[in-house]
């Protein structure tokens, strides 16, 4: 659905114009139809620049973008009919009503005039703005405006939806609604490319992710494969260990120092949730450790092996702890 071929964008560095910055460095990526692809990376990694180039809003220094096999640079208007886009910070036309706004974009996307009222009603219903159909945009809340922005992006029913930080500035309820909305689009077979700083949100909705660092894609894959790779045995030495959390039913036992003295235990840290450590050993070794702990008189309440979150995986990959 979306292909980036050697996509590169050079800038002059701020404050030192003689130095060049690569916001995108020979990016090669293919996102298949039906995927929900999350692009993650720190601020300045080049996520927004990459998405803007993918949409044809920014001219790449070199390289190509194909949407549905249509070259965005040379056949822009044709490529853009397959594309819906929402940027991180945007405004709407406050003077218009919700219906007028969507009607405008439906016409701008050249939908057949007869089908427009029906299509607008359908999209308004899908994003939950049916009660606001004739309200002026100026009176909508931030969350509603975000939903209207998404309604605009999907008014022409594009197979590809590009969302740059769509959850920015939304309250938890609006974020939840947004996720539901995106799941709905995914359910209808749409391809979604999304960036967000809230990795837990991406973990919930994405099927695959790409990690972007200084304009380079350092990891691309299915989300479970990324998590597996980040925690798996093929990683560097620290990644071999797995996380284990122990909770005691009463205080008084010097758990941290006791654990620190054991073989195979590292990175011991206590928190209100319990004492977390990394254990380099198999299941038998772990059960031996637990047995020894009980024998030592610790009031054991629970032993957990928390899975690696996307945030942990990202952190390890970004730090280079995982090959």
């Amino acid at each position: 659905m979306l292909r980036l071929i050697d996509l590169t964008k050079e800038y002059d560095a701020d404050g030192d114009p003689g130095r060049h910055v690569l916001a995108a460095d020979c990016l090669n990526l293919e996102i298949k139809a039906g995927e929900v692809f999350g692009l993650v990376g720190p601020n300045g990694a080049g996520k927004s620049t990459t998405l803007k180039m993918a949409c044809g809003l920014l001219l790449p220094t070199s390289g190509r973008v194909l949407i549905n096999n249509v070259d965005v640079e040379h056949r822009r208007e044709e490529a853009q009919k397959y594309l819906g886009y929402l940027s991180d910070f945007f405004s709407l036309y406050d003077e218009l009503t919700v219906f007028q706004y969507l009607d405008y974009f439906a016409r701008a996307y050249k939908l057949p005039p007869d089908s427009i009222p029906g299509r607008v009603a359908e999209v308004v219903l899908r994003v939950g703005l049916e009660s606001k159909r004739d309200s002026h945009i100026a009176g909508l809340s931030r969350g509603m405006k975000q939903r209207l922005g998404i309604a605009r992006a999907v008014i022409h029913d594009p197979p590809l939806l590009v969302l740059d930080e769509p959850a920015a500035g939304l309250d938890p309820k609006a974020r939840h609604d947004l996720k539901q909305l995106l799941r709905g689009f995914q359910g209808r077979g749409r391809t979604i490319v999304i960036t967000s700083h809230v990795l837990s949100d991406l973990e919930e909705i994405c099927t695959s992710i790409g990690i972007l660092e200084k304009g380079r894609l350092i990891r691309v894959g299915k989300i479970e494969e990324i998590l597996y790779a980040a925690a798996g045995p093929q990683g560097a030495a620290p990644a071999v260990a797995r996380a284990v959390r122990i909770r005691l039913s009463a205080s008084g036992f010097p758990l941290e120092s006791w654990l620190a003295a054991r073989t195979g235990v590292s990175r011991v840290a206590s928190s209100p949730l319990g004492t977390l450590f990394e254990f380099a050993g198999g299941e038998t070794d772990l059960s031996e450790l637990v047995k020894a702990l009980v024998t030592a008189g610790a009031p054991l309440a629970a032993v957990e092996q928390p899975g690696l979150s996307l945030e942990d995986a990202y952190s390890r990959i970004a730090k280079g702890e995982v090959m």
Binding site: N28, Q80, S87, E95, V220, A229
Partner: protein, 496 residues
């Protein structure tokens, strides 16, 4: 083939602008204000002298027409100038750029939609104007009024298109300079319009038909001016359409071919008003040539390449494209076009003033070479500055250029009017003002060495700036490109 229905009747951008600009609230307010204005002005004139009604009606019409001119030309231009800028500031413009609206639909939607309120006010004021012209003036007055409205419309169209062009190609800066340029531009379309309304100021002159001579042929001013203005609007609209959906950093007002075409059109208009009757006045081609070259200068500024465009060209075509060939496009071709035009002008002036021409041949061809070298000098300077890695490079380049020309004018102000050719010739090492005067053969020959040196200085400066430009291109090409990164660790289901 242009689909006019899609462009006007079914244009969603035009419709959106009309919905916003002509909201009932705005219409009501504008209607009340204009009605009050129209009603107040007439009685205030009538009370001054009740005997001279005819003259007062003319004054009334003039006031109404001036109000309409200011509203439509200036007010409408400001609306057009804000149209794209405001969308960029609000971050709504990108959403329009990714729709399937064609650049022409988007441009026309903004061109006629953004100043809709100004059109409405003008229309409101037209009613009392027509009423007073029809009831109290002769029939010719109504005809002249109609004519002045056609001129007002086409003149506004030029200004509005220019304002939209500025809005399209300038990012978020240039607020003050934009307004200044718009104010200055009010002069051009006002010429034709003033001809029309000046006739109405004196009822006695209504029967007289003024004519404009264009290439020696007499034309009714309204028809000629409307045609020329529509031509200008079309060229400016071309620049808007070419750029409105393009990334700001990669904008270039015209392609080289289009730039040459527009400069040729400006010259066609300018030269057309020269007194081309044989033996007519104005034998010195200096001012004519300077203006002709100046059009290439202005167009050349719009054709200069941005740093981003040069970088892209280098990355796409490789460092081989950083050679001396860069001097040819766009500046070399523009200078060649300017020289051809200048030669044509010289030949035309010589044809009309054959006796004097034979005597002036050397001087005239010197002027052609000098102005071409001067054009190359400044354009290479601007192009070099434009691709330097600094903030607002072109603005800085203009600032330095203005300081340079103002200082030169101050230092050499005596030389421009002095009869001493050598001091004037020396001043033309820096600026071409001294060449606007007509020099006698004796004066010219007395300073021939200085004139020649002035020409060499222009060529030298053009070569120096051309070299600096190439150096800058080479620096941009030399930037170490990091090797294409190794493919990211690829996981089974997402092949890159």
């Amino acid at each position: 083939m242009i689909d006019l229905r899609a462009l006007f009747l079914d244009n969603p951008e035009l419709r959106r602008n009309l919905q916003i600009e002509l909201s009932p609230k705005r219409l009501f307010t504008a209607g009340i204000i204009t009605s009050l204005f129209a009603l107040i002005v007439l009685p205030s004139l009538m009370t001054a002298n009740t005997n001279a009604t005819q003259s007062h009606i003319s004054q009334y019409l003039a006031i109404i027409l001036w109000s309409q001119k200011i509203t439509l030309m200036l007010g409408g231009a400001i609306s057009c100038w804000r149209s794209v800028r405001r969308e960029r500031e609000l971050n709504t413009f990108d959403f329009q750029r990714i729709t399937r609206l064609s650049p022409l639909e988007l441009a026309v939607g903004k061109l006629f939609g953004a100043p809709a309120l100004a059109y409405f006010v003008t229309l409101c004021l037209a009613l009392p104007a027509f009423f007073s012209a029809a009831t109290t003036g002769p029939f010719a007055m109504t005809t002249m009024l109609l004519q002045s409205y056609v001129l007002l419309f086409t003149g506004s169209l030029v200004i509005h298109t220019f304002a939209l062009m500025i809005s399209t190609v300038s990012d978020k800066g240039g607020a003050v300079s934009g307004v200044v340029v718009l104010l200055l531009l009010q002069i051009f379309p006002a010429i034709g319009w003033l001809v029309a309304i000046s006739a109405m100021r004196s009822p006695q002159s209504l029967g007289e038909t003024a004519v404009f001579r264009f290439y020696g042929i007499a034309f009714p001013p309204a028809i000629l001016w409307v045609t020329l203005e529509l031509g200008f609007a079309a060229w400016l609209l071309l620049a808007v359409v070419r750029n409105i959906k393009v990334d700001v950093e990669a904008m270039q007002l015209f392609t080289v071919g289009q730039g040459l075409g527009f400069a040729a059109y400006c010259n066609f208009v300018w030269i057309g008003f020269y007194p081309w009757t044989a033996g007519g006045s104005g034998t010195a081609p200096g001012p004519l040539l300077l203006w002709a070259i100046f059009f290439f200068y202005l167009v050349g500024i719009g054709v200069l390449e941005s740093r981003e465009l040069v970088r892209r060209e280098l990355r796409e075509a490789g460092t081989a494209s950083a050679g001396a060939g860069k001097l040819l496009r766009p500046i070399g071709l523009l200078v060649a076009g300017a020289m051809l035009t200048a030669m044509l002008i010289v030949l035309l002036t010589q044809q009309n003033h054959a006796e004097e021409a034979a005597r002036r041949t050397a001087q005239d061809f010197f002027l052609v070479l000098y102005f071409a070298a001067w054009l190359a000098r400044d354009l290479f300077y601007l192009q070099w500055m434009k691709i330097r890695p600094v903030r607002s490079p072109l603005r800085k380049a203009f600032l330095y250029l203005v300081v340079f020309y103002v200082s030169t004018s101050i230092v050499f102000r005596g030389s421009f009017t002095s009869a001493m050719a050598d001091s004037a010739a020396f001043s033309s090492w820096f600026a071409p003002f001294a060449l606007l005067r007509t020099w006698t053969d004796a004066q010219w020959n007395a300073a021939s060495g200085f004139w020649l040196l002035a020409l060499l200085v222009q060529f030298g400066a053009a070569a120096a700036f051309g070299y600096l430009y190439l150096q800058q291109v080479a620096a941009l090409a030399r930037v170490p490109r990091s090797a294409p990164p190794a493919s990211p660790p690829r996981l089974s289901s997402t092949p890159a």
